[in-house]
Amino acid sequence: MSDTCFQLKGSVVTTFILELLHFSLDEFTLQLEEKINQAPMFFKQSPVIISLDKIDENITELNLNELLLTCRKFNLQPMAFKCSHNRFLNSIKATGLTLLSDNASRAGTKASATSEISDNKIDKTDIKNNTAYHTSKLISRPVRSGQQIYAAGGDLIILSQVSEGAEVLADGNIHIYGALRGRALAGVKGNTDARVFCTKMEAELISIAGNFMLSDSLREKVWKQSAQVYLDEQILQVEPV
């Protein structure tokens, strides 16, 4: 029996696309540093594709090596270029990195020559997919006093209790299958449709899109019961569930 030493598989990998608009070394370094400092661990060793599609039409020459060096300095790993026009073909070749055709980078299909219109269509479905599969964060251990949990871009689901002095935040809804004794802030980026659900309501504070209420207003109605809180015309509503 011969041992197979490898398999070739098709795969879709999530990466960043760095869309270059214009380039000067100082400006680029400064702005990249700023961006990365917002979440250094998040960007560490991230593969990145550099897109030259949106670059200013008047620019004809680019120092791509400088660009790559700067990216690597900040621990990004440029893996390919993406460019739908021919202006920088030679400079891209000189860097040794691959040039992805527009289609390859989008869907991994071999379909050639995509018209501007079908391009737009794909863009729209992409956006739809993104909203359908927004990520939610799941926490299964108790959230203790002094801890803060934030679900960026989606819902937060907690399968345990949230202690007094703990804070849970989400851009979307917050679901707590346990006692909520700390603070819960849903829709922190302004989503007024966000709600807070919990199976035992003893919260210190509940906020939805910046409108908040304290435990006093909860005590009368739903204290230690299952409840939901939502926003109706800028007024927080509390209801048993």
Binding site: P142, R144, S145, G146, Q147, S160, Q161, A179
Partner: protein, 270 residues
């Protein structure tokens, strides 16, 4: 492999050192080779509770700085040959502790001991974090009182996020709740949180409930861990806690069933 157990609480004065001394002694009485380390650098207390303050020559920090070896610093207990104490330094502060240094000492102790009890200082700063970093298990000492419970909750959060086990993604530190200074009479009068209240807030398994007792203060002042006191409720409660720590299933005493008996005794004493 030695089991590293940190005794911690967040809040001060709840009985961490008393508990470290009692649990450590209890394990030694059952034949397990045990060392208790005083992590409260700058506020040496454990040696007083253990009654060996006059025998301290070298301390934890001396060993960390290679000014003495472990055997010189370890103090053998007079009552039990399985029990050793590594005292804290009184002239230094917590900055003398380093994670690497602590690890070296723990590794060396792990070669000969079955249990390493780390008596944590109060607070959630460097000293407390050093004491809990390498722990396999944690005994969270709590008084039935809201601020103590809140601080215990905080330290549980730190155990979950800042211990070696949390950082490397291993099985989490095994948590035990030890409720001390429990007075069932004051619970019925509503002056104190009940066991159920505390269990509900902290949501970790209960290791033991130590009744409020004059024997504890007496034991501390005499330098004899209360577990050696055969006549004291608190001593018995610590014995039960040690059994549970070793995996035995034992009924809880001094709370519901025994409450009446204790009440009578307390009332009778008046």
């Amino acid at each position: 492999m030695a089991e590293i157990i940190v005794v911690t609480s967040g809040k001060g004065g709840v009985g961490k050192t008393t508990t470290s001394a009692a649990i450590g002694s209890g394990l030694a009485i059952r034949g397990h080779k045990t060392v208790i380390i005083d992590f409260d650098v700058g506020l040496r207390n454990l040696d007083l509770i253990m009654g060996c303050e006059r025998r301290v020559v070298y301390d934890f920090v001396n060993v960390l700085n290679n000014e003495a070896n472990l055997n010189q610093a370890l103090i053998k207990d007079k009552r039990n040959e399985n029990l050793f104490i590594l005292p804290a330094s009184q002239t230094r502060d917590k900055d003398a502790l380093t994670l690497d240094g602590v690890q070296t000492i723990l590794n060396e102790l792990a070669e000969t001991f079955d249990f390493i009890i780390c008596d944590s200082p109060a607070g959630i700063e460097k000293g407390a974090q050093m004491a809990l970093y390498y722990a396999d298990q944690a005994i969270v000492v709590t008084n039935p009182e809201v601020s103590s419970v809140r601080d215990s909750d905080r330290i549980l959060g730190i155990l979950q996020s800042k211990s070696l086990r949390a950082e490397t993604g291993e099985d989490p530190v095994k948590e035990h709740l030890l409720l001390t200074r429990y007075n069932p009479m004051r619970v019925t009068e509503g002056e104190m949180l009940s066991v159920t209240d505390v269990e509900e807030i902290l949501a970790i398994p209960l290791l033991g409930v130590i009744p409020e007792s004059e024997a504890v203060l007496k034991a501390s002042n005499q330098g004899i861990p209360v577990i050696f006191d055969e006549t004291a409720d608190a001593g018995h409660a610590y014995q039960d806690a040690v059994s549970r720590l070793l995996g035995e299933k034992i009924e809880f005493r001094f709370l519901e069933v025994e409450k009446k008996g204790l009440l009578k005794r307390l009332l009778g004493a008046k």
